[in-house]
Symmetry: C2
Subunit: 341 residues, 2 copies
Amino acid sequence: MRRVSIEDIARHAEVSHSTVSRALRGNKRISLTVRTRILQIANELGYTPNAIAQSLQQRQTNTIGLVVTDVADPFWGEVVKGVEAVSMHNQKALFLSASQYDPSRQLAVIEVFHQRRVDGIIVGDSQLGDAQMNRLARIKVPTVFLNSQVDHAYPGFHAVGIDNYAGGVLAAQHLWALGHRHLAYLGSTKRPASNQMRSLGFAETLRGYGLPPGALATHHSTSLADDLRIGYELASAIDYTQTTALFCYNDSIALGALTYCRSVGIAVPEQLSIVGFDDVAIAQFSMPALTTIAQPKVALGETAMQLLLAVLAGQPSIDTILTPTLVVRHSSAPAPKGTAQ
Amino acid sequence: MRRVSIEDIARHAEVSHSTVSRALRGNKRISLTVRTRILQIANELGYTPNAIAQSLQQRQTNTIGLVVTDVADPFWGEVVKGVEAVSMHNQKALFLSASQYDPSRQLAVIEVFHQRRVDGIIVGDSQLGDAQMNRLARIKVPTVFLNSQVDHAYPGFHAVGIDNYAGGVLAAQHLWALGHRHLAYLGSTKRPASNQMRSLGFAETLRGYGLPPGALATHHSTSLADDLRIGYELASAIDYTQTTALFCYNDSIALGALTYCRSVGIAVPEQLSIVGFDDVAIAQFSMPALTTIAQPKVALGETAMQLLLAVLAGQPSIDTILTPTLVVRHSSAPAPKGTAQ
DNA sequence: ATTAATTGCGCACACGTGTGCACGGATTGT
DNA sequence: ACAATCCGTGCACACGTGTGCGCAATTAAT
């Protein structure tokens, strides 16, 4: 079941394969008569250029590798969508792999990408340690880290992300302004870096306002389970005689917490305010609609891809940190009177 | 910035590149001493095999192309996850592209996959017409259609999907048994085939029970908007003085409808029952938790990939139709007394 | 001790494409 | 009319890898 090659076309047109190659590529040194004849024959034979052979010859594959933690995660789904759109628009094919939050698998995927000689790599939510970063640095493939915390000690690496700390600050400002004085953070160690920064921005801002240390509870689930479940379980461990507000690592965890509250009869937002993170599609359709810190998810993916393309084109390119925004909906409200002081 | 090749290794080891190739592949005709020396040098030089050159030589790329309508859709996100998992486990790299519900783009993507000489293709929710199917048939790449309606006039094509008609039947049985006698179907023409089958299974079953034609309203949105929004808008067009039950094309539309009901004070499930389709992750965490027709989403992706692998291995392989199941939660209940007759 | 078998390795080709260089023929300049 | 230019095409190589075949050297068999 051999495919038709330019050699086959050459035989039919009674020319050399060089001429066919030039004709197909529109080289002006080929006469018009010969060119049209070749194009016609190519069409009749159903010729499709072999990108593999071209890649080998050109030492460039026009291929990008994308590794994320979990494709089924609504956040990453949108990011992937943005990456894919820009990628396709620029005639780059996209390899996709999921690491399932396993750093060693993350690196393994990257090695496979390298074998396939991808022109560039985008790695989402990198959890690579020093040793792994060194290994990665050796292969010298342009790499963009997406929502990852990487020290820029390594030259040639680039980054796109959002300011997680600022997101935590936004949540703190919002809830403090509503009068909440006993709060909790619900996070997950599945993404250590961003979880840490959101938690930190939240905590430091509150402390700056004068909140006593004991009035902020932080819970970090170490489970790899579905975030909705994690939220449900973390929410069940909170002492609601004191706590009047929850800030959650992401919307899925917030929605899980919300579900727990409904099931045990805690009124949101009357008794308890909940703030999420990401602003996934469902956030605005939950009951009540979720107040959240919005990330420009699709734009995040698009930006990462555009940055990578710029690097590949040799253009000067700078890392980008996008800023999250507060979206106030109906899951947050002033603290109940009895508890605010 | 040339990469190290077996030729480079050969120079260092003072052997021919053939010997290096054989040594790396573990050919037993190479002496142990030479082999270990070569392996050591390969390691020192940081050699990584060039999969492009291998692909050209072997006329096989160990690559699969996957095209879906929308990666950010929670349903397809899970399907992609299943495909990717099996793919990676079998050392196949995965190309991903989204068609955004555009049939011509769907075909364009497939042509790109063909240029890259993928070993096989999985196309989700195919909307290819006859002409496009003919074009696809000409390139003779093993193809698995996932949740698509394809006539098997084309040999060499395979299919994996769920029985959408049976899903519609399940919904009808459930709602009829609860006493509902005025119902509505909320669908979307973004996926013509499956939408048609679900609607049909639902309608024919109800008619078989003796429901008068006028007691079932069917609404098909032609919008390309987010499904949550579609559900919200479709739900706002229903006459709730009669209708006591909604069957929705998928969970996102159902959740949109649910949000509408909450916003205008329609009690679910007391006044109105809602049944969705897919059983996406959020379905069990909505308020009330959604009664739905569950699809084995990840299994769907896994099955498709396994079928494709079987085809590639030349094994006898048969198309698979998985059966959806009814998951009863809290968005469906007996019809209110006043309306049931 | 001579032949046969085995072992270890290199030569050369193939996969499909792109391109520098040379070369023959046509065209133009003086 | 002869030389200089230009146009169209083919030759040959490169990209990196795998493998059939042959060849020399070593070992085993008679």
